[in-house]
């Protein structure tokens, strides 16, 4: 029993880590306050779920999730290009609401609030990942591979341009960098990884509905990114483990699960507020927000 529980936590840690490091690309490295990150997660999850339920193989549904999210990432880059900080945040937040509303109302596709149940566990190269242990290996592999890829990107000169854009967009343009293209890439790459995180989530829980993709889900991810520190991959890893594990003791104190959920949110919201007031750079952050 204990192993099943630990494996579950581990899987969650890997999925949240993937969500958090993908947000770091746009927010921490490029300085784009994309509060609409969960929308990409949602798109990835639904695309994967729909393809899986219609018999498409895992590898196709997984990649499609990433690519669909990526396309949306590119798509919102144009209208948000000139927006500054908090207006970008608000616009991307509004984007999350729109995606949520579509998921809720396009019932012929998504079954609305009823959600999509019965998503089969993935199978790849003939191996079926139906046991939680095997799924843990799959998730760990995907997340660690993504971490490797993202680290490669941010350490390269391309990554330095992203950081330059965060620090001073005009100076970057005057040095000849095509800032609009770079921002689009940042949002698209960020979206891609959020999309595949959504895919993993759908395959793991085997059921998705719009309520998993609201502002509430953004809070832990945002808290992780800020606590760990903007633009710090190392900090993100530590913060993810901390944030996922921190509210777990609540289960053992004997609170009913209807209370545990909101208590987790309270803990996250409080941590976020305290960090913003007292340690806005987080543990390993290079910069403060804005």
């Amino acid at each position: 029993m204990i192993e099943a529980y630990l494996m579950h936590l581990a899987i969650l840690i890997f999925i949240y880590l993937l969500l958090a490091i993908s947000l770091q690309i746009s927010m921490g490295f490029t300085g784009l306050f994309n509060l609409g990150h969960i929308a990409f997660y949602c798109i990835g999850a639904y695309v994967s779920a729909l393809l899986a339920l219609n018999g498409f193989p895992f590898w196709l549904s997984f990649i499609s999730a990433g690519i669909s999210a990526l396309v949306f990432g590119f798509f919102i880059a144009l209208p948000t290009n000139k927006l500054k900080d908090d207006y970008l945040a608000l616009a991307t937040l509004a984007f999350t609401f729109v995606i949520y509303a579509i998921a809720l109302n396009w019932t012929s596709l998504t079954r609305g609030p009823l959600g999509l149940p019965g998503i089969p566990r993935p199978s790849l190269f003939g191996i079926s990942f139906s046991s939680n242990l095997s799924f843990l290996f799959l998730t760990a592999f995907v997340t660690l591979a993504s971490l490797f890829i993202i680290k490669r990107i941010v350490d390269s000169p391309f990554g330095k341009v992203l950081e330059a854009i965060r620090d001073d967009e005009t100076a970057a343009r005057v040095l000849g960098k095509n800032v609009f293209k770079m921002k689009s890439y940042a949002l698209a790459i960020s979206a891609f990884f959020a999309g595949i995180a959504g895919s993993l989530y759908a395959y793991y829980i085997t059921f998705i509905d719009p309520s998993s993709f609201t502002l509430l889900q953004l809070i832990p991810v945002l808290t992780i990114v800020i606590i760990g520190g903007l633009a710090s991959l190392k900090g993100t890893i530590i913060a993810t483990i901390l944030i996922v594990l921190l509210p777990e003791p609540l289960r053992f104190i004997g609170f009913p699960s209807s209370i545990v959920g909101p208590m987790r949110q309270i803990i996250y919201a409080l941590i976020l507020l305290l960090i913003l007031i007292y340690k806005p750079k987080g543990f390993y952050g290079k910069v403060e927000l804005g």
Binding site: I149, R152, I153, S156, P157, F158, G159, K160, V161, E163, A164, R166, D167, D168, T170, A171, A172, R173, V174, L175, G176, K177, N178, V179, K181, M182, Y185, A231, K286, V287
Partner: protein, 248 residues
């Protein structure tokens, strides 16, 4: 090399640049001077493409660049120093300079597959320029850890390092100590001898009149005088413009 024809920029009712025309000849050091609020930095911003002109033309090496995007203008060979420091604060000095050198860093796939490397050629250029401004020790320091004067030097280095045909410097020695000013004057003269064309805005008259080949004076958004430093020094219109400012 650079021709400005009847340039105009209005901010609401304020005529920041009101029919400004001048020329920067190749291989000269040209100084753009004038009292505060004359519109000099605005002209720089118009040339760089950061602001859109309301009227007029800007021609660089025979090509019209009015209202083009900053990155395009930059790639045509204009390198620019700003009045306020615009270093990338959370990057190191070396990274700041490398961004000026790198031409391939916005290519995602090339970078991902590792074909863009800080090769020895680039490293050498960075070391050379740091030596020139006496900042080798700070190569791996974060830009935000530097003092104002040090930041200015790194920025000048960055502007020089960026491949260019025209170097535009907005107040390169403002707030910099006299000894350093002399150093920078030397550097600019050296660059000019090596073939660079420089356009600079500066309030320090000594600095300007010592190194400039040609001086253009602006007041109230217009050019009121042009000529060699000696002529400008004694030009009554120029004196009035500056005196008028102190009277205000």
């Amino acid at each position: 090399m650079l021709k400005i024809k009847n340039l105009k920029k209005y901010f609401g009712g304020v005529k920041a640049v009101d029919g400004c025309s001048f020329e920067v000849k190749k291989n000269t050091i040209t100084a753009l001077i004038g009292p505060n609020g004359a519109g000099k930095s605005t002209v720089f911003n118009l040339i760089s493409g950061i602001l859109k002109a309301d009227d007029g033309k800007i021609v660089f090496n025979g090509r019209e660049i009015t209202n083009e995007k900053p990155e395009k203008i930059s790639s045509l060979g204009i390198s620019r120093l700003f009045q306020q420091t615009r270093l990338f604060n959370n990057l190191t000095v070396k990274e700041n300079l490398n961004l000026a050198l790198e031409q391939e860093d916005t290519k995602f796939w090339k970078n991902f597959f590792g074909k863009v490397k800080l090769n020895r050629g680039k490293e050498k250029k960075i070391d050379e320029i740091l030596k020139l401004v006496n900042m080798e020790k700070f190569k791996n320091r974060l830009a935000r850890e530097l003092s104002y004067g040090q930041k200015r030097l790194v920025e000048i280095a960055r502007a020089i390092l960026k491949p260019h045909k025209l170097l535009m410097l907005d107040e390169p020695v403002a707030g910099v100590n006299p000894k350093l000013r002399k150093e920078i004057a030397k550097i600019l003269k050296k660059l000019n001898k090596e073939g660079d064309t420089i356009l600079l805005i500066e309030h320090d008259m000594n600095f300007t009149l010592k190194i400039a080949d040609e001086v253009i004076v602006m007041d109230n958004g217009k050019v009121i005088a042009k000529g060699k430093p000696k002529e400008i020094k004694n030009n009554p219109k120029v004196i009035e413009a500056y005196l008028g400012e102190t009277k205000k």
